[in-house]
């Protein structure tokens, strides 16, 4: 499963600073005393910013201002440990309060269709870029082979209508941001807002999303996960797992068929408890662990839907038997098993008293039926 590793604002800014992109004076603090210390070092009015992996924290009350260290500490004490946008605040970024004259947007992402990095810029920064009218946005594809050159940034500032020190600052930062984007296998590098303050051009807020599939090349980066504990446990097995809010546990092989299984359950009036894609040729042991984890979530029913290709039906059957023998399966289990080594798999289950379906339609209907019966209990 593809995961994106989002970095906290303070981490994104540390990368910015490493690449020479100006950031506000400041530091991250893990408790109120540290907030006091950082604010005292700055010795000027500060912003106290909650570090959560979600936009919109300003409006949600996650950013406070204070005139001195004492005030910053008070704000920090009020913020630490509270919930914000679904996250518990456990770290604050304390920074000099900027005198903001203008707010720009500068971001680089990948355009899937064009198969190229895409630079996005706007002089209308400080808000979600999705809300900025297209006519105020400049988009430039970057050739992944040749990269971003100074002449591109001259075209950029011309299209943004910038001149002077402002233009020079934006052009320079764009070059550095692309280098960062490329060096760190990024899915997104975003500065929003990029602030004009006097003669400075500063990255006032930043987001960085790293491609999890390339994290092995960046051992120094933290492995931040937005997944729940169970999700992380199953993802660690190499399987894709997402929690949903229904009551039928689902395991299928392949992202498309797993989504389709969830959809089919819904068509028949059932509701999936999760998305578990055990495809990609997983072996018996991780599949058994994943099924075991599903069992322990206490669903109304479990539906295993396998159309074997690279996944082998006998492996799936053996995984089911492993769980049954080791921890038991005290909830209704419906298995659909066709494809590679189908006969062997069906036989293994049969010997253990489990009848496998060959039709996805029938299996899904059965699972919904069993879950509804369970609900009545």
């Amino acid at each position: 499963m593809k995961i994106s590793v989002k970095l906290y604002e303070h981490m994104a800014k540390e990368l910015f600073a490493k690449y020479g992109i100006p950031i506000p004076k400041g530091n991250v603090a893990m408790n109120a005393d540290e907030v006091y210390k950082v604010a005292a070092e700055i010795g000027a009015p500060v912003a106290v910013k909650s570090q959560v992996l979600m936009g919109g924290r300003g409006k949600a009350g996650g950013i406070k201002f204070a005139d001195d260290a004492e005030g910053a500490k008070k704000e920090a004490e009020a913020l630490f440990g509270t919930e914000l946008l679904g996250y518990t605040i456990d770290r604050l970024l304390v920074e000099e309060k900027l005198n903001i004259e203008k707010e720009f947007y500068l971001g680089i992402t990948v355009d899937n269709q064009a198969k190229k990095p895409l630079l996005i810029a706007s002089t209308e920064g400080g808000v979600n870029i999705e809300e900025v009218p297209e006519k105020h946005i400049v988009k430039m594809h970057i050739d992944p082979v040749w990269g971003l050159y100074p002449y591109h940034t001259r075209q950029l500032i011309a299209r943004l209508g910038l001149s002077g020190a402002e233009a020079k600052g934006v052009a320079d930062i764009a070059l550095k941001l692309y280098k960062l984007f490329k060096d760190y296998d990024s899915e997104l590098m975003e500065i929003n807002p990029l602030v004009i303050s006097g003669d400075r051009v500063i990255a006032a807020d930043g987001r960085a999303t790293i491609d999890d599939d390339a994290m092995y090349r960046h051992a120094e980066l933290p492995k931040i996960s937005e997944s729940t504990e169970l999700e992380q446990r199953i993802q660690a097995l190499g399987l894709a797992y997402v929690e949903l809010d229904g009551d039928i546990a689902v395991m299928a092989n392949g992202a498309g068929i797993t989504m389709a299984t969830i959809d089919v359950l819904a068509q028949y009036g059932g509701k999936a408890m999760n998305f578990l894609d055990a495809g990609g040729g997983a072996s018996v042991e991780p599949m058994a662990q994943a099924i075991g984890a599903l069992v322990s979530t206490n669903p109304k029913a479990i539906l295993v839907n396998i159309f074997g290709g690279i996944t082998r039906c006998d492996d799936v059957a053996n995984a089911i038997m492993t769980v049954k023998n080791q921890q038991g399966i005290p909830v209704p289990l419906v298995v659909r098993l066709v494809g590679t080594n189908e006969a062997e798999g069906v036989e293994i289950l049969k010997q253990n008293g489990i009848d496998a379906f060959s039709s996805m339609e029938e299996a899904a209907k059965k699972a919904v039926e069993l879950a509804s019966a369970g609900e009545g209990q």
Binding site: V110, Q113, R217, G254, T258, M259, A260, A266
Partner: protein, 288 residues
């Protein structure tokens, strides 16, 4: 006729000596694919199921003239192996591996563009022209030769649908797996264009999913097609903001929803099946 691969395609297997390589070489040979050689660094001189293995693609290509290659190499090495194949002049490169780094995928596609090669995948089950050639990891027994083209992101879901078609007497010209990653070699439009031009293909099944705008763009193209297209889309009941296994399968920033895709496809006169096993009937309808 068929698209991309047919009975004349000479296939090379990179990473042939590994577990997956050996297993699927056997499967492809059993299917009748012309597997002419394998390449596995340091394993030159060995054979797998009677097929000779070479240290480099260059040498394998020189001796056997392969024009397609399938890669059974781990994701971190996929870029190097794909470059090796394209640099040796291989025109169709099938990248099975999941978890190929995004920036590697960008490089692979840029190199393919420079060399005029076609990359299928990454994160694909491959492609098959039933009765002619299979380059991939799909089960052998579910496909039948016939007039239907299938283009899909997702492997197992496409097996389900191919099986439904075959069991209803609707065989396939070619089934193409685009791959589930964000950046892949072929778009729906690329494949639809080929199928529109393929003489044997009479109707096309598009198997899409939530996320991105590829299906919407495909719908625009379909408006100009002469051949009928029907579709199935996975992810109708997926929650917003959650990535459903595939890198692209996520509804975010108000884009990529099931409803948006159905609307666009319907506007292009494409019927969208509510259940996978309704596809065969929809195809029969449009082929009348």
């Amino acid at each position: 006729m068929a698209v991309i691969i047919d009975e004349k395609t000479k296939v090379l297997v990179q990473g042939m000596t590994g577990n997956q390589g050996q297993f699927h070489t056997r499967q492809m040979l059993d299917y009748g694919s012309r597997i002419v050689a394998g390449a596995s660094p340091g394993r030159g001189g060995q054979t797998v199921h009677g097929v000779p293995v070479y240290d480099t693609v260059q040498e394998a290509k020189e001796k056997h003239g392969a024009n397609a290659s399938i890669l059974f190499v781990p994701a971190p090495f996929a870029k190097d192996a794909a470059f090796e194949a394209m640099d040796a002049g291989i025109q169709t490169v099938v990248v099975i591996a999941e978890h190929v780094p995004l920036h590697d995928a960008l490089d692979i596609q840029a190199f393919a563009k420079e060399r005029g090669a076609t990359v299928v995948g990454p994160n694909t089950f491959g492609l098959i022209s039933p009765g002619k050639c299979k380059i991939g990891i799909m089960p052998n027994q579910i496909y039948k030769p016939g007039p239907i083209g299938i283009v899909a992101r997702s492997g197992t879901l496409s097996y389900q649908i191919a099986d439904n078609l075959s069991q209803n007497g609707l065989g396939q010209t070619t089934v193409v797996g685009m791959g589930g990653d964000r950046v892949v070699g072929l778009s729906f439009i690329d494949v639809l264009q080929m199928m529109e031009q393929d003489e044997e293909t009479e109707a096309v099944v598009l198997v899409g999913e939530i996320g991105g705008t590829a299906e919407e763009e495909a719908a625009e193209y379909i408006k100009g097609m002469t051949k009928p297209v029907v579709a199935y889309l996975a992810g109708r009941h997926a929650p917003k903001g959650k990535r459903m296994g595939h890198a692209g399968a996520i509804i975010e920033r108000g884009r990529g929803s099931y409803e948006s895709k159905v609307k666009a496809l319907n506007a292009a006169n494409v019927a969208v099946a509510e259940l996978p096993w309704e596809i065969a009937d929809l195809v029969k309808n449009v082929m009348k």
